[in-house]
C-alpha cells in the first residue's frame, strides 16, 4: 500500500504542508484536483524526486522517506511519457533490467512478455520518434513495469490521447491491475477516467487531501 503521513513539500514559493493519504494495496487510487494544486509535486515527492521538508512516506509497509528514487521500487509514467529519444522500444523495456544486471536471456524473456501483453511486438526496433501517442504511452508503461515494482505512479497518462486511444489505454490500465496486482496512484483532473477506473478517489484541495467515495 501507499501511505503518506504529514508530508510537507516546498517548490519555490509553492508549499504543501502536513498532507496525509493512503491507497490500499492492489487498488487503483486517483489523486484529483484542479490544475496547480500540487498533484504532480506530491507524486514527485512520493517517488523521491523532490526533497521534502517533513513527513513520512511508506510503501508496502516499508518506510522509504529517506531512500533515493532507485531504491523505492516505484514505476513512474510522467506526463507525456518522457521516453528516451535515442533508445529503441526494446531498449526501453530492457533499461531497468540491464541496470539490475539481469542475464540477457532473462531480459529478453521479460521484454517479450511485456511486448506481447502491451501489443508492442511490432514496434520493438522503433525509436520514440516513430511512435503514436498511444504507442508511446504503452512503452512508457512497459518501461515502468518492467522490473515488477510494487507501486505505479501515473501522471495524467490519458490527457493527451484521443477518445479512441483513451478507451484503449483504460483497457490496458485495467489489465495492468488484473495482471500485476500493483498499487496505482493515478494523478488526473478527469472525472470520466476516475469513474471508469478508480477504486478510491483522493481529492487535493486547499493543500489537503480528502478521501471521496469512488
Amino acid at each position: 500500500m501507499i501511505s503518506v503521513e504529514q508530508l510537507s513539500v516546498r517548490v519555490g514559493h509553492f508549499a504543501l504542508a502536513n498532507v496525509s493519504f493512503s491507497v490500499p494495496t492492489g487498488q487503483h487510487g486517483f489523486l484529483m484536483g484542479k490544475t496547480g494544486t500540487g498533484k504532480t509535486t506530491l507524486l514527485e515527492a512520493l517517488c523521491g524526486l523532490r526533497p521534502i521538508t517533513g513527513g513520512k512516506v511508506s510503501l508496502m509497509g516499508r518506510e522509504v522517506t529517506h531512500l533515493p528514487p532507485a531504491a523505492r521500487g516505484i514505476g513512474l509514467v510522467p506526463q507525456d511519457g518522457a521516453l528516451f529519444p535515442h533508445l529503441t522500444v526494446r531498449e526501453h523495456l530492457a533499461f531497468a533490467l540491464a541496470l539490475r544486471k539481469w542475464a540477457p536471456a532473462a531480459v529478453e524473456q521479460r521484454v517479450q512478455e511485456l511486448a506481447e501483453w502491451l501489443q508492442l511486438g511490432k514496434l520493438l526496433s522503433r525509436k520514440p520518434a516513430g511512435l503514436s501517442g498511444g504507442e508511446a504511452q504503452r512503452v512508457a508503461l512497459g518501461r515502468a513495469l518492467s522490473f515488477r515494482p510494487d507501486v505505479l505512479c501515473l501522471d495524467e497518462p490519458l490527457s493527451a490521447l484521443d477518445e479512441e486511444t483513451r478507451a484503449e489505454m483504460c483497457g490496458v490500465l485495467q489489465s495492468v491491475r488484473a495482471h500485476t496486482g500493483v498499487t496505482i496512484l493515478h494523478v488526473t483532473h478527469s472525472l470520466a477516467d476516475a469513474r471508469k477506473l478508480a477504486d478510491c478517489v483522493l481529492l487535493l484541495k486547499d493543500g489537503q487531501v480528502v478521501r471521496r467515495e469512488a
Partner: protein, 278 residues
C-alpha cells in the same frame, strides 16, 4: 436594415501590400551575405595557386599548421572535459551565487583578447604562477598557446553546453532515477546521448575559436617562429614584413579549414531531423 447601413458606412480596409516588408528583409540578408562572399572572393582572387602551394612548402608555415591543429585539438578536448560538467551543473542546480558564477564564466567572451593575454602573462608572473613554471615552462612556450586558446574557447563551450542541457527535459533523468539509476548513470545513459548534438556544436565552436585565437597568444606565448607560431600569428608576421601574398595564402588555408568543418557539421546535422542546435 441597421446592419446594412452600418456596413456601408465603414471605411474600406486599407489595402497595402507586404512586399516592402519582404524586400527590406531580403535586401539586408543579401547585403551581409554578399559582404562575406565578397571578402572571401577578394582573398581568393588576390593569390594564385602557385603562391598558395609555395606558402605550404615553407618550413615555418608547416610548423605553424601542425601547432595550430595540435593545439586546437587539445584545447577542444580540454574544453569539452570542462564545459560538459559545468553546463550540466548550471542547468540543473540552483546554488547561491549562481548568477555571479554565470557572469564570471561569460567574461572570457566579452573581454578583449589582448587583455586576456596580458592577464594570463601577469598571472604566471605571480608567485603561484612562477611555482608552476618551475616544473613546466609556460610563458612564451607551447603550453601557453594551449592555455590561451582554452581560456577563450572553453567559455563558448560552456555557453553552448548550458543551453543544450537547459533544453533537455529533466523528466527523462527523473524517470531514469526511478528505474534504478544513480545520478551518474542517469547522466551517462540518458542525458549525454541526448546532448550529443550540443556536444558536437560546443566542440566545433571551441575548435574554431582556438584555431583563430591571436591576441592572447601574441601577448602570452609570443610570436616565435618554429616555436609558438600558430596560423593566425603567421598571417600577422607575413603581413608585418609586407609579404601580403603569403599572408593571404595562409588566411585562405584557415578559411578552407573553417568552411570544411562547417559543411561537415551541417551534413551530420541534416541526417537526423531532431537536431535542435544547428
Amino acid at each position: 436594415m441597421n446592419a446594412n447601413t452600418s456596413a456601408s458606412s465603414k471605411p474600406p480596409a486599407p489595402r497595402r501590400s507586404d512586399w516592402p516588408f519582404w524586400a527590406g528583409l531580403w535586401l539586408l540578408a543579401a547585403f551581409y551575405t554578399l559582404l562575406i562572399v565578397a571578402m572571401l572572393a577578394a582573398d581568393a582572387a588576390f593569390t594564385t595557386p602557385g603562391q598558395f602551394w609555395r606558402a605550404l612548402q615553407s618550413r615555418e608555415i608547416r610548423y605553424a599548421i601542425k601547432l595550430s591543429l595540435a593545439s586546437s585539438g587539445l584545447t577542444t578536448i580540454f574544453s569539452l572535459w570542462v564545459s560538459v560538467p559545468i553546463g550540466y551543473l548550471l542547468a540543473r542546480v540552483n546554488f547561491p551565487g549562481k548568477a555571479l558564477v554565470d557572469a564570471i564564466l561569460d567574461i572570457p567572451i566579452v573581454l578583449p583578447p589582448l587583455v586576456i593575454g596580458l592577464s594570463l602573462l601577469i598571472l604566471f608572473q605571480t608567485p603561484p604562477g612562477q611555482f608552476v613554471q618551475r616544473f613546466i615552462p609556460i610563458t612564451y612556450a607551447i603550453p601557453s598557446v594551449i592555455i590561451a586558446q582554452f581560456t577563450v574557447a572553453c567559455a563558448f563551450a560552456v555557453r553552448t553546453m548550458r543551453t543544450t542541457f537547459d533544453q533537455i527535459n529533466p523528466r527523462r533523468e527523473q524517470v531514469a532515477l526511478t528505474l534504478g539509476c544513480r545520478r551518474s548513470q542517469a547522466f551517462w545513459l540518458v542525458v549525454l546521448p541526448e546532448a550529443r548534438r550540443g556536444v558536437l556544436t560546443a566542440a566545433t565552436l571551441a575548435w574554431a575559436r582556438a584555431l583563430g585565437e591571436f591576441g592572447p597568444i601574441l601577448v602570452f606565448a609570443g610570436a616565435t617562429r618554429m616555436k609558438t607560431e600558430v596560423l593566425p600569428t603567421t598571417v600577422f608576421l607575413e603581413l608585418s614584413v609586407g609579404n601580403l601574398e603569403a599572408a593571404v595564402a595562409v588566411a585562405l588555408l584557415m578559411v578552407a579549414a573553417a568552411v570544411t568543418v562547417l559543411v561537415l557539421i551541417r551534413c551530420y546535422g541534416a541526417e537526423e531531423p531532431m537536431g535542435k542546435l544547428l
